[in-house]
């Protein structure tokens, strides 16, 4: 094991050690603060290791160490180990940095919890970091799956962290149920891959049919984990968990695991054009659909949740267009600015004690740092030129040029506009305008919460410029070009923001007061905007919401209900009478024998 891999292994094992210590030493966990310190220390070590790895990494190098894990008939079927290459090094860094920031943020955010619950929270976080890093450095799909399942399990526990809230308990079960359902695809994919190649390597050469089968099954798992249409319904519900958990799991890491899986298994997906076609469409539809829903949410976290769905749709569409790098790039930048947004939302929620946008407003004076950092995140997400989100989103869009008759491209362009529009709405409603009653008593959060915000704001601003380096490491083509796509995308982003100002900024002292006033004079423009918003956008959103609530969600609930109902009905067969049991034995034997001789 070379030193590089040792560092990667360190990033995996140190969080595990911290989690185990907390598990086996209940006094430590129940004390709360010491456990938190230990877990954050572990994350710090993991982050340091991942940064060191990044500095030492040579472009294009792939090294791995494996230990035989499962042996069948004297042959090693699968191994555990670490795989260090451009993708895993970057992903490791993203995961560690975001996790560290979230944990530091949680120090203050969760301080109302009892000490034992506080300790449990950080234990789960350490466990999560271990699971996620296991997934990231996996040298084969089996270990990746193991990490995948562990991530699912920890997320189940974290979403349901406030299990005394019935809605949280329900949401955690729903999230687990949905992702498990999709994970069946992963299991089948592993089985099919194993049968075809007697191994779990993602570099395998397959026939087109097998590749299509394997990748389609893998994609099913991705649809569940990365909340793609129509299995996205669990993600908004999962917002019942603590907000930092949402930042970590439902923005930066866990949901991105699905996209990461596709990036990892890119050699397999490259052999299956049919699957890629499906991905392209599913991603585009998810992006647009979720953006429509984000528009009408009154809960700030739900806006961000649907926005996450939407951005994941971008990544999946990019992957479907055949550009693993575009998806991965957007995954990286998105992780930073979405974590920033969630933490910013957490800061706001902490201040006003409400998730509702209606309870916020005018927070910009009370919480300047939060406003600034959240604003950076929002503009980055909206794709304002120069910020991180712009570069990656632009690159994704550029990959889609001309694909499938420009339709996905158009859909994602529309999504760009909507993204800017709903982020503008959140900005204005939460930070602009007059102070609401609840916002009146709000005050800026403490240092432990602001520090992660500031730290995350840096990559949210600047990570876009790293595209070239990143591409070089991953061995992909990347160049910023000034063509149709960036121009249209920039225009749409700015138009969306301005539109939001037009619609929501009126009647309130909006931050862009000057611009607004000049535009407001042309009230026809304003009315046009308002009308467009009210009749077109809200209409679309209503349809999307209807489909979501009654069709997708309803179908899934119906499946669950039917399963349980059928079980309840058939159990009448078990009468409790011995004679019936003996009858079953005899008739069973009779039928089997009858069939045996008649065959």
């Amino acid at each position: 094991m070379s030193s590089l891999q040792s560092w990667a292994a360190l990033a995996v094992l140190v969080p595990l050690a911290a989690a185990l210590l907390c598990v086996v030493l209940p006094p430590l966990r129940r004390a709360g603060k010491p456990a938190a310190a230990l877990c954050i220390l572990a994350s710090l070590v993991a982050t340091a290791a991942s940064i060191y790895l990044l500095t030492q990494h040579e472009a294009g190098a792939v090294t791995r160490t494996e230990v035989p894990w499962i042996v069948l008939g004297g042959k090693a079927l699968a191994s555990i180990g670490v795989n260090v290459d451009g993708v895993s090094v970057v992903m490791l860094l993203v995961v560690c940095v975001v996790a560290l920031c979230v944990q530091v943020f949680s120090l203050a955010y969760m301080h109302d919890e009892t000490p034992s619950s506080y300790g449990r929270y950080f234990t789960l976080h350490a466990l999560f970091l271990f699971s996620m890093n296991t997934l990231v450095v996996a040298p084969n799909l089996l270990q990746l799956f193991a990490g995948w399942e562990l991530v699912g399990l920890t997320s189940y526990l974290l979403i349901g962290f406030w299990f005394h809230k019935p809605s949280a308990a329900r949401a955690s079960v729903k999230a687990f149920w949905m992702t498990k359902l999709a994970d069946m695809g992963f299991v089948f994919a592993l089985l099919a891959l194993f049968v075809a190649t007697r191994g779990f390597d993602w570099n395998a050469r397959l026939s087109t049919e097998t590749a299509t089968l394997v990748t389609a099954l893998l994609f099913l798992a991705v649809v569940g984990k990365s909340a793609q249409f129509p299995l996205h319904v669990w993600l908004p519900d999962a917002m019942e968990g603590p907000t930092p958990v949402s930042a970590l799991l439902h923005a930066a890491t866990m949901v991105a695991a699905g996209v990461f899986l596709i990036v990892r298994a890119d050699p397999l997906f490259a052999q299956a054009p049919a699957t890629c076609e499906v991905m392209l469409w599913v991603g585009s539809i998810t992006a647009l659909f979720a953006a429509c829903l984000a528009l009408v949410q009154s809960d700030i976290k739900k806006v961000l949740a649907y926005s996450t769905c939407s951005q994941l749709g971008y990544m999946v569409a990019a992957l479907g267009a055949g550009s693993a790098f575009a998806g991965f790039f957007h995954l990286g930048t998105h992780a930073f600015f979405k974590a920033l947004l969630f933490l910013g939302a957490g800061s706001v929620i902490h201040a006003v004690h409400s998730n509702e946008l209606a309870d916020m407003g005018g927070l910009r004076r009370k919480m300047p740092v939060t406003t600034l950092t959240f604003g950076i995140g929002a503009l980055s997400l909206a794709g304002v030129p120069g910020l991180a989100g712009f570069f990656s989103k632009d690159f994704v869009l550029a990959q889609l040029e001309g694909k499938a008759g420009w339709i996905p491209w158009t859909m994602l362009m529309a999504t760009s506009f909507l993204t800017a529009f709903y982020m503008g709405r959140v900005l204005i409603k939460a930070f602009g305008g007059a102070e609401s009653a609840k916002a009146h008593h709000a005050h800026e959060s403490g240092g432990a919460m602001l520090l992660p915000l500031v730290v995350l704001a840096v990559p949210a601003l600047a990570a876009g410029f790293l595209g070239g380096v990143l591409a070089e490491w991953s061995g992909a083509e990347y160049h910023v070009h000034l063509g149709l796509t960036p121009v249209v995308a920039s225009c749409l982003a700015i138009a969306g923001l301005l539109g939001a100002v037009m619609v929501f900024g009126r009647g309130r002292a909006a931050p862009f007061a000057g611009v607004l006033e000049s535009l407001d004079r042309a009230s026809a423009v304003d009315r046009t905007w308002s009308g467009l918003y009210r009749h077109v956008l809200l209409g679309v959103s209503a349809v999307a919401g209807f489909v979501d609530r009654y069709f997708v969600d309803g179908l899934i609930n119906a499946v669950g209900y039917t399963t349980i109902e059928s079980g309840a009905r058939v159990r009448r067969l078990q009468t409790g009478r011995i004679h019936d049991y003996a009858m079953a034995v005899v008739v069973g034997a009779l039928l089997i024998a009858l069939w045996g001789v008649l065959r």
């Binding site: 069948l72 399942e149 005394h164 049991y581 034995v585 089997i592």
Partner: protein
């Protein structure tokens, strides 16, 4: 004679322990936990000895063959026996302090029957061992329970009677079927079915009927559909520490017998039994999983879950390959530890909570975090989540079955595994999420606690590092099926 002693050293030892326990109790009755601890420790000694005694060989006329297959099973049964005894110590000492020796003796007799069963290569010995295994189980089902809540003694008697009547009916079926098979083939050796007719004509109808009756009889013992109906009722009525043992050891023995007979003896006639086996396996998965869904008593739920699990194990046997058989062994071994663990935790919770319904164990994790955690691990293993032992078991079985071309059943199995996940999680959720109406901490006796810890160790250990058991299972399976 010395050869005999060497060949049957472990079985002799187990019977000797039974005799010792009975005699000790006859001459110096004890009411404490000493009898149980002595039994467990001596059994532990036998298990340890199994690693040093090389008893490989065969009895005259090949009625009994000792090879890696037998050694694997002996150790598995001994482990189950030790854990079964450990789990019962506290309960017996509290509930029936004056009637402990018989319990252990009967358990040991059953254990001896199982251990011999694994090596039987002759129908006479096999049938006799099967009955030696079963008879004590009928009795133990109805054991003790005079002083529990009012309904308990009735339920225990009912449990015993249900097991007995269906068991005796199956014995009758098996015996009649064997009369046909042995009569038609003219030998009591478990071997290929010699048709006697012209080449390629296949077995006579009477032989086929006989074979399938025998298969049905074994189907009863492993609790496969449609011979499964005793399972939930017996699990619910019988004493829980015993159910822990009942739910694993006889099933492992039954699967071992099936493997010996189907893969070892009748492998050439697979066209006769394979369709029946596949139907039984598929039906077990479906019925087990769907009937488990609406259950509110944890033991009934686990009964149905056990039926489903047996379906998966039968699927592995149906692959007819060495790898498949090895995976059956792996599956069974992990199942032994997992299910023992689940029942022990339930027992610990029920002893303090007054019942086994899901409502009664609600909030367990708050009353005893470590029991709650252990239960979660066991349930995850049953559900097949990585990194616990059950995950590999399921994955391996599905992999081998897919390899053998049983794709339909694999798809069915994976789909049903998701249904399974639902009800396992229901139990887990009620322990974690729901608030129970009790807040007193659960105190677990030392013996029971030790048994749970051992189970936990194996379930987690095998989940992280399945390699040793996989290799041992492969080695053992080579004794029955040669080739890949």
């Amino acid at each position: 004679m010395s050869q005999w002693i060497q060949l049957f050293a472990l079985e002799f030892a187990v019977v000797a322990i039974a005799a010792l326990v009975l005699l000790w109790d006859a001459f110096a009755p004890r009411t404490g936990r000493a009898v149980g601890w002595i039994t467990a420790l001596l059994l532990g000694g036998v298990l340890a000895a199994s690693f040093f005694v090389d008893g490989s060989g065969a009895a005259p006329h090949g009625v009994f063959v000792r090879d890696a297959w037998v050694v694997f099973h002996e150790r598995l049964f001994l482990a189950a026996g030790i854990l079964g005894v450990l789990g019962s110590i506290d309960w017996l000492a509290m509930r029936t302090p004056k009637r402990q020796a018989e319990y252990y003796a009967l358990l040991l007799f059953s254990l001896a029957g199982m251990m011999l069963l694994a090596g039987a290569r002759d129908w006479i010995l096999l049938v006799v061992c099967f009955e030696l295994m079963s008879m004590p189980l009928y009795v133990l089902c109805a054991y003790g329970k005079q002083d529990g809540p009012a309904s308990e003694p009735k339920l225990a008697a009912e449990a015993g009677l249900k097991l007995f009547v269906t068991g005796a009916a199956s014995s009758g079926l098996t015996l009649f079927g064997l009369a046909l098979v042995v009569g038609m083939t003219g030998t009591s050796h478990i071997g290929p079915i010699v048709t006697g007719g012209p080449v390629g004509s296949g077995p006579a109808p009477l032989t086929i009927v006989g074979m399938l009756f025998v298969l049905a009889g074994f189907g009863f013992k492993v609790g496969a559909v449609p011979f499964h109906m005793w399972v939930p009722d017996t699990y619910q009525g019988a004493p829980t520490p015993f159910v822990a043992f009942l739910s694993v050891a006889p099933k492992a023995a039954g699967l071992a017998t099936l493997a010996i007979v189907l893969l070892g003896g009748w492998s050439a006639s697979s066209s006769v039994w394979l369709p029946a086996l596949l139907v039984i396996a598929g039906a077990s998965m479906v019925v087990g999983n769907f009937f488990a869904l609406p259950q509110t008593d944890a033991r009934r739920l686990l009964g149905y879950s056990g039926i489903a699990q047996i379906g998966y194990a039968l699927l592995a046997i149906a692959t007819q390959s060495r790898g498949g058989l090895a995976m059956t062994l792996f599956f069974v071994a992990t199942y032994v530890f997992t299910n023992l663990g689940v029942f022990f935790v339930l027992h610990a919770a029920a002893e303090e909570g007054g019942g086994h319904t899901l409502a009664r164990i609600a909030g367990l994790s708050k009353r005893s975090p470590w029991l709650g955690g252990a239960l979660l691990v066991f349930l995850l293993s049953l559900a097949g989540i990585p990194f616990v032992a059950g995950f590999w078991a399921k994955l391996f079985v599905f992999m081998e079955a897919w390899n053998a071309g049983l794709v339909t059943l694999v798809v069915l199995g994976v789909a049903l595994a998701v249904v399974g996940l639902y009800y396992y999680l229901t139990v887990a959720r009620s322990t974690y999420m729901a608030d129970g109406d009790r807040s007193t901490p659960v105190r677990t006796g030392f013996a029971l606690g030790a048994a749970i810890v051992v189970c936990l160790f194996f379930v987690v250990g095998l989940g992280l590092w399945p390699k040793p058991l996989v290799e041992a299972a492969n080695h053992a399976a080579a004794g029955i099926v040669s080739g890949r």
